[in-house]
Amino acid sequence: MTLRMKVTAAAFVLGAMIAPQCAYADGEVEVLHWWTSGGEAKAVGELKKMFEDEGGKWIDSPVAGGGGDAAMTALRARVVSGNPPTAVQLKGPNIQEWGEQGVLGSIDDVAKAEKWDEVLPPTLASIMRYKDEYVAAPVNVHRVNWVWANPEVLAKIGADMPKTWDEFNATADKLKEAGVTPLAHGGQPWQDATIFETVVLGMGGADFYRKALVELDQDALKSDTMIKVFDEMRILRGYVDDSFSGRDWNLATAMVMKGEAAFQIMGDWAKGEFLAAGKKPGEDFVCVPTPGEPGYILNTDSFAMFKVEGEDRVKGQKTLARLIMSPDFQVIFNLAKGSIPARTGVPRDQFDSCAQKSMDDLSASTKNDTLVPSMAHEMAVPRSVRGEFMDVVTEHFNSDMSSQDAVDRLSAAIERVASR
């Protein structure tokens, strides 16, 4: 090569090396999350695309598995070493827990500019704040208290969708006689806890739910209503098949799809399974709120912003927060993930019938104050408290413990952990 060509080549190489270091128009973010499978990865990919379309730089830090355990361990290490990621997938009281460590960054200015207070349900908005400042942006709203049913199986015994727990028990007895498993269930502690909290809501109503599962009031935990809840859990135990132990939730959904079971009590991520198998809502499967008192058990995924150095990164956080709450993103993301938008003011026409029912119920429950955060999905209480609930519920479900014993154990356990 001639000298001129060599110099040109060197200049190109140097330029290529320097180019990535230039400041991005809308900042840079490093995002720690655990959405690594299928629909979830696609959904978070949409956010990445939107962010990069605005000129920002997205550094992906996915940490697979365990419902976030590995990601939380990685986060702990990063925070202790003084180098936290810019945005982290955190939910519920974990946000406040990290806030107490003094490591979260505020995005209150974005929230005020975009008027988040007006478009978010108050219960949800308070979870996104630490000390009255917004530190996290919600991406979706999942509803936990759904019953998914196979209408063919129900038609065979001529039953309707149950509206109270007594009706549910009666229908389940008829199903058992007809040789169908009434309730498809996976015997994992979080699934037991999911059923438990829907029974708490159904038997006691939203106020009792809040007292017992959010405020951890000892009187509520030791009350007769709680004993009735455990009685119902014991009855439900009789409606699951023999191989339920350790079964994954999506395999239980498959049982309903195939007609081996009639009902599954699960959040609306089960809808994703039905849709992925090509089933149509209303025809091949139906969704109804769980029996008993009306209410909406909320489960929201969100991204919390950590305190970071560097103008680029702070700018990136603000852009990310704004994008997450934009109606466009909320539609695209939630269509991919199977949940509904966290904010109001989003066009509904692309969402299926179950999602639209969910949206209607969300506004209704916000108005009637029957919107409650999920305990089983880490929205209502910190993980330490949730762990104690799960231990008692799963032990009761898998043994012949009496309801009174369960209530005593529960109140002792909550006292133990709350006094820490």
């Binding site: 355990d69 502690p189 350790g246 330490s384």
Partner: protein, 299 residues
């Protein structure tokens, strides 16, 4: 000193110190990473740590909390049941297989390899495979029932009281081969003359083995015990793969308890307290055994 002598004393010094220098980095690393962090865990178990470590001293509050938790008692009970059955079972079966293989049979090499193969699997593979084998709807119960024995049941895996024994079964299957290999080496090292002398004295095979050969390979029992004991204390992956903690938490072990509390429940204090109790349990058993065996060996 002449140059040659100076050279040789430098060489001697080097020769003496080189092994120590070579081992020094790993020694220092293990000193820091193992013992240093054991000390850190010990300290944290006396604090109020939750999601992040907190270094304010808080007394025995975590230990009180630990001993108030019903799940911990289940974990300890499971540890003792599992350890005793696992170590005892592996030792007995391993010794039995080794004695059988010691009879100078023809395809000893192949059979020995077959018995040793399970050791090559990771506990996760063993746990998953046995989970399918022991599943009532898919595995043994289903197969035997499909052969016509309608009333056969083998649902230990989903039975709260019997689930721990399924873990024992899977563990023994995995590790007996290794213990067998240890004992076989020991049996082979027994002098033929001793066996011949015993035969001359009129001792039958049972007597020869129980009174003469087995006592001669006593040091092997110590090796087998140490290996099996550490495998059983560590048994986290086998439990998670096979039962995920059990129906409910019926097959919880201290290792899974500690993992759940540290990483899933943001309770570092309780988790470190449970870890220190595990360490104390292990030390209480292994240290006296080690001491007595090594002391006798020196005599």
């Amino acid at each position: 000193m002449t140059l040659a002598k100076a050279h040789s004393s430098l060489f001697q010094w080097f020769e003496r110190w080189l092994p120590r220098l070579a081992v020094a980095p790993s020694f220092a690393a293990s000193l820091f990473f193992v013992y240093g962090f054991i000390a850190w865990t010990f300290y944290i178990s006396f604090t109020n740590s939750g999601v992040l470590p907190n270094y304010d001293f808080a007394g025995l509050v975590q230990y009180e909390r630990l001993w108030d938790t019903p799940r911990w008692y289940v974990a300890l009970k499971n540890l003792f049941i599992f350890s005793i059955l696992f170590i005892g079972g592996c030792t007995v079966i391993g010794l039995f297989l080794a004695i059988l293989l010691d009879q100078r049979i023809r395809i000893e090499g192949a059979i020995r390899t077959i018995y040793l193969y399970p050791m090559a699997l990771s506990f996760i593979v063993t746990g998953t495979a046995w989970k399918w084998i022991l599943n009532p709807g898919l595995g043994i119960e289903h197969t035997v029932q499909s052969w016509g024995f309608e009333s056969f049941t083998f649902d230990w895996l989903v039975d709260r009281d019997m689930a721990i024994y399924t873990i024992v079964i899977a563990g023994i299957w995995q590790s007996s081969g290794y213990v067998m290999a240890l004992f076989l080496a020991g049996l082979r090292s027994v002098d033929d003359d001793v066996i011949k002398a015993a035969a001359v004295d009129g001792a039958g095979p049972w007597r020869t083995y129980t009174s003469i050969v087995v006592p001669m390979i006593r040091p092997i029992f110590l090796s087998a015990f140490v290996v099996l004991a550490h495998l059983s204390i560590k048994s986290f992956d086998l439990v998670i793969a096979l039962t995920g903690g059990g129906p409910g938490y019926a097959t919880d072990m201290p290792a899974t308890f500690m993992y759940a509390f540290a990483f899933q429940r943001s309770e570092l204090g309780v988790a470190t307290a449970s870890a220190i109790i595990m360490l104390a349990t292990v030390m209480a058993i292994v240290v006296p055994y080690l001491y007595s065996e090594l002391r006798e060996g020196r005599r």
